[in-house]
Amino acid sequence: MNTQAPLLDVNGIEVIYNHVILVLKGVSLQVAEGQVVALLGGNGAGKTTTLRAVSNLLEGERGAVTKGSIELRGERIEKLSTADMVARGVVQVMEGRHCFAHLTIEENLLTGAYTRKDGKAAVHDTLDKVYTYFPRLKARRGSQAAYTSGGEQQMCAIGRALMANPKMVLLDEPSMGLAPQIVEEVFEIVRDLNTKERTTFLLAEQNTNMALRYADYGYILENGRVVMDGAAAELRENEDVKEFYLGVGGEGRRSFKDVKSYKRRKRWLA
């Protein structure tokens, strides 16, 4: 798969927050055009940080890429602004929803199309598309985002990003807080866009099971380093991945009820 030049090439980046907190310690990853790549890893592994580095949202968090390089279609992008990235078709769905609280759901969605130049009609087509993806949003279109439920906000955030008609979407924990049915739908949407419109996805996800089912390739991040990568199918078969990320031991899925019976063991890397 590494034959064609990657769309996104992250090369050994280091990220430091607040001048002192070193979070990414040399992360490299590639995403080819039209691929769905999953970024996996536990809490605090650095998934969000990686995505922020790509979309250049670090500044507002007082973080900075201090080493390494990020290239999009061969162009160095560390110096660009987030708006420039969106103009190049790369949109991030931020973790934790971040809807515009005082705007209605529909206004939220429409702001997503801020960068589009292809006219009102096209924007409205996309809006309709988003509403068909998420009928719940249509029902709540007139409510201020702050007064919608957590899941509705999550849908709104995803829908808002889609409104930009992106070439590449950075999805940060899309499934969080969504009902199982909707999770499924979200991933179907990912697949749909990926196959029909060749949209590329880089998704950070805790729901490893889902992510690996829909992704082509996966990276596992621990403690700010990539500890494992491979085709999604391969990863799914890996024993460690099964054990720690899919929750299936040698003898099949273990009930959450039984977790008490064994003491959590140390991870395979320190």
Binding site: G60, E61, Q92, H98, H102
Partner: protein, 309 residues
Amino acid sequence: MGPFLETLIGGLMAGMLYSLIALGFVLIFKASGVFNFAQGAMVLFAALAMARFSEWIPQWTGLSSKLLVNVLAFAVALALMVVLAWLVQKLVLSRLVNQEGITLLMATLGITYFLDGFGQTLFGSAIYKIDVGMPKDPLFLLEQTFPGGILVGQEDLIATVIAALLVGVLSLFFQYTGTGRALRAVADDHQAAQSIGIPLSRIWVIVWSVAGFVALVAGIIWGSKLGVQFSLSLVALKALPVVILGGLTSVPGAIVGGLLIGVGEKLSEAYLGPMLGGGIEIWFAYVLALVFLLVRPQGLFGEKIIDRV
């Protein structure tokens, strides 16, 4: 009845003048969530520029048409305000993306100090004059009905019309254009706005320029009323209760708030003041605002303060 009407009208018009300044606050707050402390300094700066250029331009070019000179000075001053907006964005705001409101407020305070010093270094600190031909003498209405007629300041009348116009245009802009929507989005969440490609820098230059324009208009009106000198920056204080009463995010609120405060303080001063020893209008304005807030904590037209878990 005559005196009452007079006070009422005086209050209404004073209120409009406050609104003009309040408008600047509202614009920037609404569009970036920043409480722009520097609005007063911007008014002074703009007025100074206007006053000095209308003095210098004839000296440099030998122009004598007052109208032409004023138009030119206005253009130069406006250009200056746009440059200022760009600098503020470049040097200050863009480096404080996603910081809390209070930090940004503090930054605008820094801008205030800077502008106060810079404006006076550049333009001097004596009293200057803006003469855009505003009529100064009073107008007496209904002289038949009331002894002595009802006094109306012509200058105030003109200011009122201008303020009303500005407000009308700006409210439409915010409510109905895509840029208006983007501005409101930025105010809600800088980072999320960035994430969907709203270029904060451009947005900020736009709002600060518009606020600069409003400051210039306010500066000209107030400046031709009071003379252009340092105290002009202090009239911003008068606009505070207005903005808060009207709602920090509401353009029409700035007007209604202005009218209420204007009328409230003038009437209180006229009818309560003598009993209490005078000078009560300042605190009365705040108390009035406070009373309204107790009923509507977000101001008359402000967006509801959202806290949800």
